[in-house]
């Protein structure tokens, strides 16, 4: 019989629909047996009955444990530690309620651990963008998660490129970190993984077997290019977390850290998710890409592409402002954009009225 895998699923009241999809993705797993440890972080006055109802749907498919804790403030690390304490499996993995894993994900990861003898393994990730229309989340884009690739500890010091749900750990060795740092409200997974990786190299699976879901309504923890007071609070929290991580990396590696990661003691995080400039740049591109002018002329561009035997156009994923400006300039200079300018002119006129 295969060894038990415990997957710690973090959630909160009000996110029942997200939890449902996360658990459905666990129910579809090709690997078994799986224990799903759902840890619900509540605040005073919040009930968990709706979350438990969602869990009950999968009781026939998954070995489910439900734990809730009432903690004021951001307690994401505590949720993970509570889940770890309840986990019974030899293998552990983590899944936030707003992400999903593909059916072969754990079969492939645990197979990589077993065949390599490594203490942990990670796979590539797909970054999927969802747009909220009313109460419906609609998928609008997919691309490889930036930075997915083979492992290098130096690179890992520089870049948090391994999402929480893309890796699994074999606890049989017993010498890795056994908890998350509860003083961290961001990058707690990065801290955990660096401590693990400093002692144990991973097995790398060059396949995308899970999905990192970004919602354009600002409800992700990560910086997603939305604006306003909430976004500002998010950015401040991320700034504080990055400063804290810089100190921890020095503690982990030593005074010579800047020699391997380059200049200063605070290596830049390159992901759009932790880089507000990249997120804003992507938003700039998305605004043009999703515009009516661009969408209604897509058929014409497709015909031209087929005639010229060019590949189908895809939504560009940019890493910075300069790249975004080039993409936007190309769109604005295109025939599609020029021929639809009268429509935009009329639209502006009507809005002005």
């Amino acid at each position: 019989m295969a060894a038990l895998l415990s997957v710690i699923v973090r959630t909160m009241p009000g996110r029942e629909d997200l939890l449902d999809e996360a658990l459905f993705s666990l129910a579809l797993q090709e690997y078994g047996p799986i224990q799903a440890v759902v840890t619900a972080h509540t605040r005073a006055g919040q009930g968990v009955a709706p979350l438990q109802d969602i869990c009950q749907r999968y009781a026939h498919e998954l070995d489910l444990a439900f734990v809730s804790h009432c903690t004021e403030g951001d307690a994401r690390s505590r949720s993970l530690n509570i889940g770890l304490a309840r986990a019974e499996g030899r293998y552990v993995a983590f899944l936030d309620d707003d992400d999903v894993v593909y059916p072969p994900h754990y079969r492939i990861l645990l197979g990589a651990i077993e065949s390599s003898g490594c203490a942990w393994a990670y796979s590539q990730t797909i970054r999927a963008t969802y747009r909220r229309i009313g109460s419906v989340l609609q998928p609008v884009g997919r691309s490889p998660h930036p930075g997915s690739g083979p492992y290098s500890f130096v690179r890992h010091l520089h870049d948090n490129f391994i999402p929480l749900h893309s890796f699994a750990v074999d606890r049989a060795g017993g010498s890795g970190p056994c908890s998350f740092d509860e003083s961290l409200s961001r990058l707690e997974d990065y801290d955990f993984l660096l401590r693990l990786a400093s002692r144990h190299p991973p097995a790398y699976v060059p396949l995308a077997t899970c999905e990192y879901r970004i919602r354009t309504d600002g409800t992700n923890t990560v910086i997603d290019g939305t604006h306003g007071a909430k976004a500002l609070v998010k950015e401040q929290a991320w700034d504080a977390a990055r400063r804290e991580m810089a100190i921890r990396k020095l503690d982990l590696v030593g005074w010579w850290l800047p020699e391997v990661v380059g200049g200063g003691t605070a290596p830049a995080a390159m992901h759009p998710e932790t880089n507000p400039q990249a997120a804003a740049a992507q938003r700039m591109v998305d605004d043009y890409w999703d515009s009516t002018s661009w969408r209604v002329t897509s058929s014409l561009r497709r015909i031209a592409q087929m005639f010229r035997r060019q590949p189908r156009e895809r939504r560009p994923i940019v890493g910075g402002v300069a790249e975004a400006e080039r993409v936007v300039a190309a769109i604005r200079g295109s025939t599609s954009w020029r021929v639809t300018s009268p429509v935009r002119w009329v639209g502006r006129l009507l809005l002005g009225l």
Partner: protein
């Protein structure tokens, strides 16, 4: 039937509060060399539906001349499906559409009160509330159309209107077809052996005056990402059917393109004229009514990616 018309969480479809006028439906699964384990998983997901009380029958067709009988028996036992709910047929491999038509023909002949048929892939797994969502959507649309579940975790990239559910066509992976569709359209065009029969039927539904709906919140677990891209026989079937579809719906350019892809990818040379010999074309007014989309390759629709 009262409709409370309230949004409920992520559901846009108003919940039908009385189902007194709606008889049950049947689920139809065509089996071809699927393992007992895979089939059991599918059947268990049907048995655990929140609307299981509205699924009167589970219809299973062994499309391999009885070779799958033992696996079907094992899967039914594993899923604990009561024998009185099961209807079984068998034939040599007659293709996807013909097999589902056979199941529907037998179903409605024996149980004319059955109100619809949920076409389901044997390698699919229903989300616990999938059937309920599909039934709610069908009731809200007065059962005038076909209703598909969204594939999970990776949806089909074709676009759909998030508010109305309207979409260009519906996939046969998990598709609720009202009895009226069977009565008026005769089910799938059986000349399509595999692939594109769902696209063709969707367009005929539109000609009939119905609509095609993707139902938000109705999920079916169906993952094809780990299959080899351009799996030879499957891809060849797909391109062949695409060629026939293009001819039938008056897009010679698309038919020629599919034939060209068949040659370039697999070295298979087909003479389109010979292939479509005997196939008529739909009337021009059908093309106007259905507005088939041949501008986005095998997506047959604008796509999100």
């Amino acid at each position: 039937m009262a409709i409370d018309g309230k949004e409920n969480g992520s559901r846009w479809w108003p919940r039908a509060t009385s189902h007194a006028q709606c008889a049950g439906i049947a689920t139809g699964i065509v089996v071809y060399r699927n393992s007992a384990e895979e089939l059991a998983r599918c059947l268990k997901s049907v048995a655990h539906q929140s609307a299981a009380d509205r699924i009167d029958f589970i219809c299973l067709h062994d499309n391999d001349d009885g070779v799958s009988a033992a696996d079907i028996d094992a899967a039914l036992e594993d899923a604990r499906i009561p024998q009185e709910k099961v209807r079984r047929t068998v034939s040599r491999n007659c293709g996807f559409g013909a097999a589902h038509n056979l199941l529907q023909h037998e179903l409605y002949a024996a149980h004319p009160s059955c109100s619809g048929y949920l076409c389901l892939n044997p390698d699919a797994v229903l989300h616990p509330t999938c059937a309920e969502r599909l039934l709610d959507a069908a009731a809200a649309a007065s059962w005038r159309g076909v209703f598909e579940a969204l594939q999970f975790p990776v949806p089909h990239p074709k676009v759909y209107d998030a508010r109305t559910g309207l979409t260009a066509w519906c996939s046969g992976c998990c598709l609720l077809m009202p009895k009226s569709v069977w009565e008026n359209l005769g089910g799938f065009d059986t000349r399509f052996f595999m692939y594109c029969e769902d696209v063709d039927m969707s367009w005929r539904v539109k000609v009939w005056g119905g609509h095609c709906y993707s139902v938000p919140g109705a999920y079916v677990g169906h993952y094809v990402g780990d299959r080899e891209h351009h799996d030879g026989p499957a891809d060849m079937h797909l391109l062949r059917s695409a060629c026939l579809l293009g001819h039938k719906w008056r897009s010679d350019a698309f038919a020629a393109g599919a034939a060209r892809d068949l040659h370039e990818r697999w070295g298979v040379d087909i003479d389109v004229a010979t292939l479509v010999s005997g196939w008529g074309r739909v009337p021009t007014e059908w093309v106007v009514a259905a507005a088939p989309n041949f501008n986005h390759g095998l997506y047959f629709s604008r796509a999100y990616w």
